[in-house]
């Protein structure tokens, strides 16, 4: 319980900091943000109206407090382009991003676990070097390169899958592969390292000594224990996944929050940019906090307060 409270307190500080940083983003716009958003040909009256609507004519402290107050009521303001409440736009876009992120995560786990376990079990063999070579390659191929390459092979040449858009399950395959591969590359290294550590433990030797087959030893005894550190790291890697989603969604015209943020940047719709960055970051913080608690829950040593 103590642990829970201190953790929640530090999360609160982080959330507050993120809110403040995002608030100040709009003040980094070179020159006059209102002029940049409306263009040079805008009428003076329109500029004043927008300045007032955004509260930019108020003192900075008032603006800041106002922003914090609005955000706690889930009010992110209004999009300059569509004049619709941003909260509504975010809610429309969020499912697509969630779907893509989960599918990418699934791809990563499905590739990484067998690869990492195999590399660890056959350490220093050709299998191990091969798997780690593939993983090194996976890290070096960014989403914005892998995406077009997959489109080229599976959509253009083979014609198996749609090039872009979000219609049906088939259209999810390529974006999910694009997003999941980079994470699989990193994850497989973690699984390998974690497995190697576990395989040296006494209880593995005991399990082998009592005559368990290699399969049971690896999957039932080793992997289960190797899983815990991997789960924590998985939570942290989710950040890379979310940032990758921004690029992947752009590559595949996937109508999620990532595409929204790029559209908003191009259209200088800064309130939307702020809201998207805030939304993605806070989801990331939320997931990581939950992973932390899950970790504490699954590990009785942490749960019962014996400390790590």
């Amino acid at each position: 319980m103590r642990l829970l409270l201190t953790r929640l307190a530090s999360v609160a500080v982080v959330v507050f900091g993120v809110l403040s940083l995002v608030f100040f983003l709009i003040h980094l716009v070179p020159g006059d943000p209102v002029e940049v958003m409306l263009g040079e040909s805008a009428q003076a009256a329109d500029r004043e109206a927008l300045r007032h609507a955004l509260g930019l004519d108020q003192p900075l402290l008032t603006q800041w407090l106002h922003y914090l107050g609005n955000v706690t009521q889930l009010d992110f303001g209004v999009s300059l382009h569509s004049q619709r409440p941003i909260t509504q736009i975010l809610l429309e876009r969020a499912p697509a991003t969630l779907e893509l992120a989960l599918a990418g995560l699934l791809v990563a786990v499905v590739i990484a676990f067998p690869l990492g376990v195999m590399a660890a079990v056959r350490k220093d063999t050709l299998w191990d070097h091969g798997a780690m070579g593939v993983s090194l390659l996976g890290v070096a191929v960014p989403h914005f390169l892998l995406g077009p390459l997959l489109i080229l092979i599976f959509a253009v040449w083979l014609g198996w899958l749609p090039v872009s858009g979000r219609e049906g399950l088939a259209s999810l395959v390529l974006p999910a592969l694009t997003l999941g591969t980079a994470m699989a590359a990193i994850l497989s290294r973690m699984v390998r390292a974690s497995m190697l550590e576990v395989l040296n433990e006494d209880y593995i030797r005991t399990a082998r000594a009592k005559g368990l087959g290699p399969r049971a030893v690896i999957w039932r005894h080793a992997l289960r224990n190797a899983l815990l550190p991997v789960i924590t790291l998985l939570g942290l890697q989710l950040g890379a996944l979310l940032a990758g989603a921004v690029i992947t969604e752009t590559v595949f015209s996937w109508p999620g929050i990532g595409q929204l943020v790029i559209e908003a940047i191009q259209g200088r719709d800064y309130p939307v940019v702020q809201a998207c960055v805030l939304f993605i970051s806070l989801s990331y913080v939320l997931v990581n906090t939950l992973t932390d608690f899950a970790y504490a829950w699954f590990d009785p040593r942490v749960r019962l307060g014996a400390g790590r």
Binding site: L137, L145, I265, V285
Partner: protein, 272 residues
């Protein structure tokens, strides 16, 4: 530990050559007769071949010249970002770890806040808001980049400052400056250098990513990222427009990472 022969060629000499060529293009780019923006209309979308080197893009510009000029962009950005991030991060982290107390507490909180922005999202937002241009890319990526170095430097100082040689220096009355520069920084250099080498690979990808999103250098200035973006529109007709800059990017990132691995083994640093 020395690797067997073939592995040594693959893991050391090949990446060294790639990085050397990359740096060479970046440094000599100013004097080479490259002309990455010269348009030759008859060559539009020409694939690589006998008299086309690496082929031509949709505007009839030589991809060979553009990849070489793009090398300069990525090299300059990577060098600046890593230098700035490493300098700021080391100063902040060392100070925070050495002074401790409330300062340290505050710094850790600030680091946590920056880490709450996943990956390069903050850099995307910053670059988008500051507008395109190489200086803004460097600034946006440095804002994100210093955090890793600060964390590492702080952790290093925390583990080093209770070592006996530091305690002895304090007992002998050495000043803070002397302790930091003579007794801490030399021992922190190895892990920071290793981190910096992986940082270079990360920045190369990040710069290309920003340029891919249209938030990097201004066209017609070439960047591997914007070349990939332009090429993605001509996948069917001219896949080489994606392949050529993509291969360059992959080779450089792979090589820098391999060299980072070697450096880490050489300097005996455990990756955290």
């Amino acid at each position: 530990m020395s690797l067997p022969r073939p592995a040594r060629i693959l893991g050391l000499w090949l990446p060294l050559t790639v990085v050397f060529v990359w740096g060479l293009f970046a440094l000599l780019g100013l004097w080479l007769p490259l002309d990455p923006n010269r348009i030759e209309l008859p060559h539009i979308l020409l694939p690589p071949g006998e008299d086309a080197w690496l082929g031509y893009d949709d505007l009839g510009r030589s991809l060979a010249a553009r990849v070489a000029a793009g090398a300069q962009t990525s090299f300059v950005v990577a060098l600046w970002v890593v230098m700035i991030s490493c300098a700021i991060g080391t100063v902040v982290g060392t100070f925070s770890g050495y002074v401790g107390g409330g300062w340290d507490h505050a710094t850790v909180r600030v680091i946590d806040i920056f880490l709450a922005f996943p990956g390069i999202l903050l850099a995307i937002a910053l670059a988008g808001i500051l507008g395109p241009g190489i200086e803004n890319v460097v600034m946006a990526l440095s804002v994100v980049g210093w955090v890793g170095f600060a964390r590492l430097a702080r952790a290093q100082v925390l583990s080093l400052k209770h070592r006996e040689h530091v305690q002895a220096a304090i007992a002998l009355g050495a000043g803070t400056t002397r302790i930091v520069f003579r007794h801490l920084l030399p021992l922190m250099a190895a892990p920071l250098i290793v981190e910096a080498s992986f940082g270079v690979a990360g920045v190369v990808i990040a710069e290309a990513g920003l340029s891919f999103l249209g938030l990097g250098v201004q066209p017609p200035e070439p960047s591997w990222g914007s070349m990939i973006r332009d090429g993605a529109r001509y996948l069917l007709m001219a896949p080489h427009m994606v392949m050529v800059p993509g291969a360059a990017l992959m080779l450089v990132v792979l090589s820098v990472n391999l060299l980072g691995d070697r450096l880490r083994d050489r300097l005996d640093v455990r990756r955290t």
